[in-house]
C-alpha cells in the first residue's frame, strides 16, 4: 500500500499510543487510501468500539462506511461476504472472539471457503477483527480461540502483541486479498501506552507489518520460547528473571498463527535445540501441538533436545482471579516452565 504521511502533521515523529489507538489509526489510514474499505459491527460507529479501536472512524467516514449494526453477527458477517463479492473490503468486528459461535458458519463455510470453491475466481478480502484473551471475565468472555481459526483452512490468523505491530498488521490485513482473522488481546487493549516495553512508538504515517513474519523480541541461546499476543510481555519478564536460573531464553513473538513463520523458528532452534511454547489458548488440538509437531516434522527428532508447552490445559476460564491465574500463563508460571525446561535438558 502507499505510504503517505498526513500533510497537516508538522512532524511524523513516533508517539506513544496504545493498541486501540494504533488499530484505529491503521484503519483510518486504510480507509483514507481505499474507499472500498468499510467497517461493520456492534458499537463500532458512535461508540468507536467497546475497546475504542474504531474511534474516530464515524466522524471521518460517515455512517455508511462505519456501520453500527444490531446484535446480528450471522447477518453482518454474511454481509461481508456479499460486499467482498461486490468488490468491497469489509472489516467486521466481532466484539469478543467468544461470540464467534453465532456466526462461525459464515466464517468457515463462506469467507474461508469461497476462494477455493470458486476455483480462485472470487476473493474474500475480509478482515474479521475481534478481541481475545483472559481478563478475569470468565468462561464466555475470556477465551483466545486462535487455534479454532487456525484449524479451518482458508483463513490467515494473526494476533499482535504491541501498538506498532497492531497498526501495521491491521494495515496489512486490510490490504490482503486473503481473509484475515485479526485477534486483538483484551488485556493489551486495556493497557496504557507507556506500559508497553516494546513496540510502543508508533509513526504517524501508514506502514505495513507483514502478516507472516514472527519477531525475535529477546535474543537468547538456551531455549526458544515461542508465544504471542498477551503472553509476550509475561514471557519477556519471565525470561529476564530466568537468567538467575542460568537459562538464556530467546523469545519469539509469533504474530501470525496462519501461516507459521518456520524460518524464524528454525533459525532459533538451530541455536537452542529446545522449544517451549507458551499459549494462552487451550492446549489440546491447538497451536502448541502444531508448533511442536511442525518443528519435529521440519527439523527432525534429532534436532531437538527438549520440547514443552505451557498454556490453558483445556479448562473453561474461571471467574475468580485466583482460579484464572492457575490455568492462564502468567509471568510466574512461565518462569516455572522455563526452569523446568532448563532442568530437563
Amino acid at each position: 500500500m502507499t505510504m503517505t504521511a498526513n500533510p497537516t502533521n508538522e512532524t511524523s515523529a513516533p508517539r506513544n499510543i496504545n493498541i486501540s489507538q494504533a488499530v484505529a489509526e491503521g484503519l483510518r489510514l486504510a480507509m483514507e487510501a481505499d474507499d472500498r474499505v468499510v467497517v461493520i459491527g456492534e458499537d463500532v460507529a458512535t461508540q468507536g468500539g467497546v475497546f475504542g479501536s474504531t474511534r474516530g472512524l464515524l466522524k471521518a467516514f460517515g455512517p455508511e462506511r462505519v456501520l453500527d449494526t444490531p446484535i446480528s453477527e450471522m447477518a453482518f458477517t454474511g454481509m461481508a461476504v456479499g460486499l467482498a463479492m461486490d468488490g468491497y473490503r469489509p472489516v467486521i468486528e466481532i466484539m469478543f472472539v467468544d461470540f464467534i459461535g453465532v456466526c462461525l458458519e459464515q466464517v468457515y463455510n463462506a469467507v474461508a471457503k469461497i476462494p477455493y470453491m470458486s476455483g480462485g475466481k472470487v476473493d474474500m478480502p475480509v478482515v474479521i477483527k475481534t478481541a481475545g484473551g483472559s481478563i478475569g471475565a470468565a468462561a464466555q468472555h475470556s477465551q483466545t480461540l486462535w487455534g479454532l481459526f487456525g484449524h479451518l483452512p482458508g483463513l490467515r490468523v494473526v494476533a499482535p502483541s504491541n501498538p506498532y505491530d497492531s497498526k501495521g498488521m491491521m494495515a496489512a490485513a486490510v490490504a490482503s486479498d486473503d481473509p484475515v482473522v485479526f485477534i486483538e488481546h483484551k488485556g493489551l487493549l486495556l493497557e496504557r501506552a507507556q506500559d508497553f516495553e516494546f513496540g510502543a512508538n508508533v509513526p504517524r504515517e501508514a506502514y505495513d507489518v507483514p502478516l507472516d513474519k514472527a519477531a525475535v523480541v529477546r535474543p537468547g541461546s538456551d531455549l526458544t520460547l515461542v508465544t504471542l499476543s498477551g503472553s509476550v510481555r509475561h514471557a519477556l519478564t519471565a525470561a529476564d528473571a530466568a537468567i538467575l536460573s542460568g537459562v538464556d531464553v530467546e523469545v519469539i513473538d509469533l504474530r501470525s498463527i496462519v501461516p507459521i513463520d518456520w524460518e524464524t523458528i528454525g533459525t532459533s532452534l538451530a541455536k537452542t535445540r529446545a522449544l517451549l511454547v507458551v499459549d494462552e489458548d487451550y492446549l489440546g488440538y491447538g497451536l502448541s501441538g502444531e508448533l511442536i509437531t511442525g518443528a519435529i516434522e521440519r527439523f527432525g527428532l534429532g534436532s531437538l533436545d527438549y520440547v514443552g508447552r505451557h498454556g490453558n490445559p483445556g479448562i473453561p476460564v474461571p471467574a475468580a482471579l485466583s482460579l484464572e491465574r492457575e490455568i492462564v500463563p502468567g509471568t510466574e508460571s512461565i518462569l516455572n516452565a522455563i526452569v523446568r525446561a532448563g532442568a530437563e535438558r
Partner: protein, 325 residues
C-alpha cells in the same frame, strides 16, 4: 395472454430448465456427479418468473437447490453444467460442484448451508446502497431456511437499513423429511413479513404469470423503499437429494402432485387449449430445447476432471499454502 412471444419464451425457458435438470439426473446415474444432487424439478415456474424480473446488474444468492436460479441469472449453460459434472471447464473449475456455484461478474452465488444465502444477499444489497445504484439483491431460499436465525437477522437488518432486498421463498412443503406444516409457527411465511414491517405476499408458484407479477411488485418496492418478501407455493417432486429413499411422504401425495400440479405440463395445456401455441409448434420447441441440452451434455461429458495436482490451488488468493501443507 396477449403477448404470444412472452408466453412462448416462458414455456421455452421452463422446458429448458426441466431438460437441464433431467440431464443432470443422468450424471448421477452414471456416477459422474457425486454427493447430494438437489434438483428443483416442479419449481420451474418460479425460476422463470425470477428470470423475468432480474436485471443483469442485480445480485442473486441462492441455495443448495440452485441450478434453475443460475439459469435465471443468465449463467451460460455449458460452464454451469460442466461445474455440476465436476469438470475442469466448469464455472469454478470443478472446485465447487453442484452446491457451490459462483459467478462474480454476474453477482451470483450459492451455498450448501440452509439459510446462509440470506446474509450474503444482504451484503449485496448494502453494496448497492454504498454505490448508490438501483440494483436489487435477491435471496432465494426454501421454506426450511425461514426457521434459521439468519432469516430473522437478515430481514430485520434489511428493513432497518431500507435495503433493496427481495427474498423469494420457494415453499415446496418439505424440509428434507419434515413437512412445512410441522415446522412453521405461522400458517403462511408471507405473514412473517409483518414482523419486519415489510410487504409479504403468497403466490401460486406453479403459475408463472402470477409469480412474475408478485416478484415484480416486490422488486418495485425494493427499488423505491426497502425489502420485500414473496412466498411462492410449489412442491418438491423428487426426494431431498438424488438417492433419497423419500419414504417420509405418501406415494399418493406424490402421485397426485406430480401428475396434476406440474407447472410445465400445466402451462403447456394452457397454451394449447387457449389457442396460443398449436401442438406442432409446442413439439418443435420442445425438440429444439432437447437438442440444445443434449449438445451441452455431450460437450460436458467429453471434458476432463481437473488434474489432481491442482487440489492445493486456491486455498488463499495470495497463493499461501496454509499452516500444514
Amino acid at each position: 395472454m396477449n403477448n404470444p412471444e412472452l408466453w412462448r419464451d416462458r414455456y421455452r425457458l421452463m422446458v429448458l430448465m426441466r431438460r437441464f435438470e433431467e440431464a443432470c439426473l443422468t450424471g448421477v446415474a452414471s456416477r459422474e456427479i457425486h454427493g447430494e444432487l438437489h434438483t428443483a424439478i416442479g419449481q420451474e415456474a418460479i425460476a422463470a418468473a425470477l428470470a423475468e424480473n432480474i436485471r443483469e446488474g442485480d445480485a442473486l444468492a441462492s441455495t443448495h437447490r440452485n441450478h434453475l436460479h443460475a439459469i435465471a441469472k443468465g449463467i451460460p449453460l455449458y460452464p454451469l453444467m460442466a461445474e455440476i459434472f465436476e469438470k475442469e471447464t466448469g464455472l469454478c473449475g470443478g472446485f465447487g460442484g453442484h452446491m457451490h456455484l459462483f459467478d462474480k461478474e454476474r453477482r451470483f452465488s450459492t451455498t450448501g448451508i440452509v439459510g446462509a444465502s440470506l446474509p450474503v444477499a444482504l451484503g449485496h444489497a448494502y453494496a448497492a446502497k454504498l454505490r448508490g445504484d438501483d440494483t436489487v439483491a435477491f435471496a432465494v431460499i426454501g421454506d426450511g431456511s425461514v426457521n434459521a436465525g439468519g432469516f430473522h437477522e437478515t430481514m430485520n437488518m434489511a428493513s432497518v437499513l431500507g435495503l433493496a432486498l427481495v427474498v423469494v421463498i420457494e415453499n415446496n412443503e418439505w424440509a428434507i423429511s419434515v413437512p412445512f406444516s410441522a415446522a412453521s409457527s405461522t400458517a403462511k411465511l408471507a405473514e412473517r413479513a409483518v414482523a419486519y414491517a415489510i410487504p409479504g405476499e403468497r403466490v401460486d408458484g406453479l403459475d408463472v404469470d402470477a409469480t412474475s407479477q408478485a416478484i415484480g411488485r416486490a422488486v418495485a418496492h425494493a427499488r423505491s423503499t426497502g425489502p420485500a418478501l414473496v412466498e411462492a407455493m410449489c412442491y418438491r417432486f423428487r426426494g431431498h437429494y438424488e438417492g433419497d429413499l423419500d419414504l417420509y411422504r405418501s406415494q399418493s401425495e406424490k402421485t397426485d402432485r406430480t401428475t396434476t400440479k406440474d407447472p410445465v405440463v400445466l402451462l403447456r395445456a394452457q397454451l394449447r387449449d387457449g389457442g396460443m401455441l398449436d401442438e406442432a409448434t409446442l413439439e418443435r420447441l420442445e425438440s429444439q430445447v432437447s437438442a440444445e441440452i443434449d449438445a451441452v451434455l455431450a460437450q460436458v461429458r467429453a471434458d476432463k476432471q481437473p488434474d489432481r495436482s491442482r487440489a492445493h490451488d486456491h486455498v488463499f488468493a495470495s497463493g499461501l499454502k496454509g499452516a500444514v501443507a
